[in-house]
């Protein structure tokens, strides 16, 4: 097993910790209202006989995309942060389903929420960890003192090839975070650590409509290796174990993977329970781990400690050590909670799903 403990020879610690302490000032989730059950997909493609990785997944409506969904989540984050959008010095959107190949999602989002023109904007891509990569960048941006607030979003309308194993889980949703000074935060980010290698487990080339994947290669050498390497290195460097955390969230491409990753790192099932949303909304890709964080923050109490570990194919994991502050209590109710979005559901059949997702090509 390759394992990096001291990546920077100048530093004795593998951790990323800004000189100015930072945290989450606001957060917001968004999940579209439509749901298709895995059973319905199995009915069409497997004669009803398939091992189902989730119960159902969230499907975006015909007029929804990563831009509109990001705006929804961003507004929720602003409501909780109680700052004006003009105070944001960056709006960064991580996704693997940006509506345009060339033309930023982030500029439209920044304009819509009122953050323009004195702002950085940019789109991020790192498969399912583009959102947490943007969070790490925002930590540096705010932590250096160059900015007071930066917004990082992870949002996807993930593409699942009809009939492919991933069609059962490829879902839509995500979350937005405002990173700001620790003293104004509802949760501080104590440290992060990222573990990255060239591991081609899942990809979508330019002009391809659907991604391809390496079947079981996506498991051990990709997901589990990166998640456990990032998580264990962060915890070792901080001198903590799973017992020191109230909650944990791991990237959730299906129900079993995060459960097993949690077990491998010593966490109990109840520690991941609030953030384990994949059974009911599917894998929201760039939004997957961080919407688990918003759901966890919705129920967290002051002083709760949270471990968040994302995973992006290609591959890498970002691990974060987070401590909830007393500000959480008054801010939780200032916007719709993640579970409110999950409860708001309209079940659709495969034909409607095929229409909404543009899977029927007319020309």
């Amino acid at each position: 097993m390759k394992k990096v403990t001291t990546p920077n020879p100048q530093s004795s610690s593998p951790l990323l910790q800004p000189s100015r302490p930072v945290g989450f000032t606001g957060y917001g989730a968004y999940v579209p209202r439509y749901r298709i059950s895995a059973k319905e997909i199995a009915r069409v493609w497997a004669g009803g006989k398939a091992a189902l990785p989730v119960k159902e997944k969230a499907v975006p409506g015909m007029d929804e995309d990563v831009i509109t969904m990001s705006i929804e989540a961003a507004r929720n984050a602003l409501a909780r942060a109680e700052i004006h959008a003009h105070q944001l010095r960056a709006v960064w959107v991580g996704s693997e389903s940006h509506p345009y190949a060339v033309k930023p999602t982030s500029t439209v989002v920044a304009e819509a929420i009122g953050a323009v023109p004195n702002v950085q904007a940019g789109d991020w891509e790192f498969a399912c960890k583009a959102g947490t990569e943007a969070i790490v960048a925002a930590m540096g941006f705010v932590g250096s003192g160059m900015a007071d607030y930066a917004m990082a979003i992870g949002m996807d309308t993930a593409q699942g090839k009809p009939g492919d194993a991933l069609e059962y889980t490829a879902a839509a949703g995500g979350a937005a975070f405002i990173i700001g000074p620790a003293e104004s935060s509802l949760a501080t980010i104590n440290a992060s650590y990222s573990y990255v290698t060239d591991t081609p487990d899942f990809w979508r080339r330019e002009y391809q409509k659907y991604p391809e994947h390496g079947v079981r290669f996506t498991g051990e050498p990709a997901y589990f290796h990166h998640i456990t390497s990032a998580g264990s290195t962060l915890m070792e460097a901080l001198g903590v174990t799973a017992k020191d955390y109230q909650w944990a969230i791991f990237h959730q491409p299906n129900t079993k993977f995060p459960q097993r990753a949690a077990q491998m790192l010593g966490f109990m099932p109840e520690q991941i329970e609030p953030g384990l949303l994949v059974p009911v909304i599917g894998n929201t890709y760039s939004g997957s781990s961080i919407i688990g964080l918003t759901a966890t923050l919705d129920v967290a109490r002051p002083d709760d400690r949270i471990l968040l570990v994302s995973f992006g194919s290609g591959a890498g994991s970002d691990a974060f050590d987070i401590t909830v502050t007393e500000k959480i209590t008054e801010r939780q109710g200032k916007a719709l909670k993640t579970q409110d979005y999950i409860a708001r559901r309209i079940e659709i059949d495969y034909a409607t799903y095929a229409r909404y997702r543009g899977k029927i090509t007319m020309k």
Binding site: K49, V215, R216, F217, E220, P221
Partner: protein, 386 residues
């Protein structure tokens, strides 16, 4: 004539070795075999491999591996006969020593499936069939086995779970092999509930493709170091036979004639009869292959091979123990390495080093490696010398 002695054994575990390349797999097996052979330096390397040019885009394994393991300069070539490549490579090593032209030969079987995932693997395996008449029509090795199995079940009135005994035996034996891909025994219900791959071949009727490498050092008896510590195992018989490549060219598709011919020749060379054989490593790429091998070699009457499995006669304590370290089904099917694994496992049995899976007082082992539906059959008799 000199005795050909197996002087070194090496193997990697069988499984999905995502992070180990073709040459590294081969190196691990070769390194172990050479270390065991007590300083013998091979003059020839025979590589058994089936799919490297296709899956790993790597031909010319002889030169590649000889150089990679530090034997640059020696004779080194690849032997290919589809799933029988490993057995065929062993035979080339045997011939080299037996002829007196080579003192010490190295045989390595290596296969790296996981360089490709998905349908590409099945497509590569299908190149072993007749391209113009079979593969081009969409026939895969599994579909072909299904046709044979369906005919067999029809002709001989085999009940639906009649073949379960092969998978049950293989998995029970895999549990005692630390190098096996599957090391867990299965229950009859598990077999009965398994999904169909190509009706009537279910998931437990088909061996899993897997990465692995196994190696042997062969030498003349008089060259063996005086302090060599293991019981002597000799290659007592070696034969290859061929049959039609395409199944439709066979007069009788329920009989593996090449399996019969090569086994008969090998046993004749070894000067033994069937009853003297203590264990049989057959080529159970599919459970129907195992049944037909038992019948073609002569352990069962035609149409009765499946009953040997159903009645427990192929278990470790049965009349003719088969797949004693898990066979292709539970140890795994590492393509062209398979025949070399069989030899390593049989030699381990004959040395008395098979631990939990040891066949008591094993003296003769029959090992048989098949290419396709026995279009090639390579059979060896290994004998323990007292």
């Amino acid at each position: 004539m000199t005795d050909v002695i197996i002087a070194g054994l090496g193997q990697t575990s069988v499984g999905e070795h995502w992070d180990v390349g073709l040459r590294d797999l081969a190196y691990y097996a070769i390194d172990a075999a050479i270390k065991e052979a007590g300083g013998l330096r091979p003059q020839s390397l025979f590589v058994g491999n089936m799919l490297a040019p296709n899956l790993s885009k790597q031909a010319h394994l002889g030169a590649l591996l000889a150089d990679f393991v530090g034997l640059t300069g020696i004779e080194a070539v690849t032997i290919e006969a589809a799933g029988a490549s490993g057995g065929a490579a062993l035979r080339q090593g045997y011939l080299a020593i037996k002829s007196g032209l080579v003192d010490t030969a190295l045989v390595v079987g290596v296969e790296k499936f996981t360089d490709v995932v998905g349908a590409g693997v099945e497509e590569a395996l299908a190149t072993a069939a007749d391209s113009d008449f079979e593969s081009v029509q969409g026939m895969t090795s599994t579909a072909q086995a299904a046709l044979i199995m369906q005919r067999y079940m029809h002709e001989y009135n085999v009940p639906p779970d009649g073949f379960a005994g092969f998978a049950l035996t293989a998995h029970a034996n895999g549990a005692g092999n630390p190098n096996a891909m599957f090391q867990k025994a299965i229950k009859a219900e598990t077999y009965a509930k398994a999904g169909m791959v190509s009706d009537p071949v279910n998931m437990f009727d088909a061996a899993p493709n897997a990465d692995g490498a196994a190696a042997l050092v062969l030498t003349r008896r008089d060259l063996l170091p005086s302090n060599w510590p293991h019981p002597l195992v000799k290659v007592a018989g070696s034969a290859t036979a061929s049959d039609t490549l395409a199944l439709h060219d066979r007069k009788d598709m329920l009989y593996f004639e090449a399996a019969q011919l090569s086994a008969g020749r090998a046993m004749k060379q070894a000067n033994i009869v069937l009853d003297q054989i203590n264990l049989f490593e057959y080529h159970d790429a599919f459970s129907i292959y195992a049944a037909l091998a038992l019948e073609s070699v002569g352990f069962a009457l035609r149409g009765q091979g499946w009953k040997l499995a159903a009645e427990g006669q192929i278990a470790l304590n049965g009349r003719i123990p088969c797949a004693t370290m898990g066979g292709l089904k539970a140890r795994g099917f590492p393509g062209g390495a398979t025949g070399v694994y069989q030899a390593v496992e049989a030699a381990t049995q004959l040395r008395g080093q098979a631990e939990a899976n040891q066949i008591p007082e094993a003296h003769y082992a029959l090992i048989q490696s098949l290419g396709g539906p026995a279009s090639t059959a390579v059979t060896h008799v290994l004998e323990r010398l007292n």
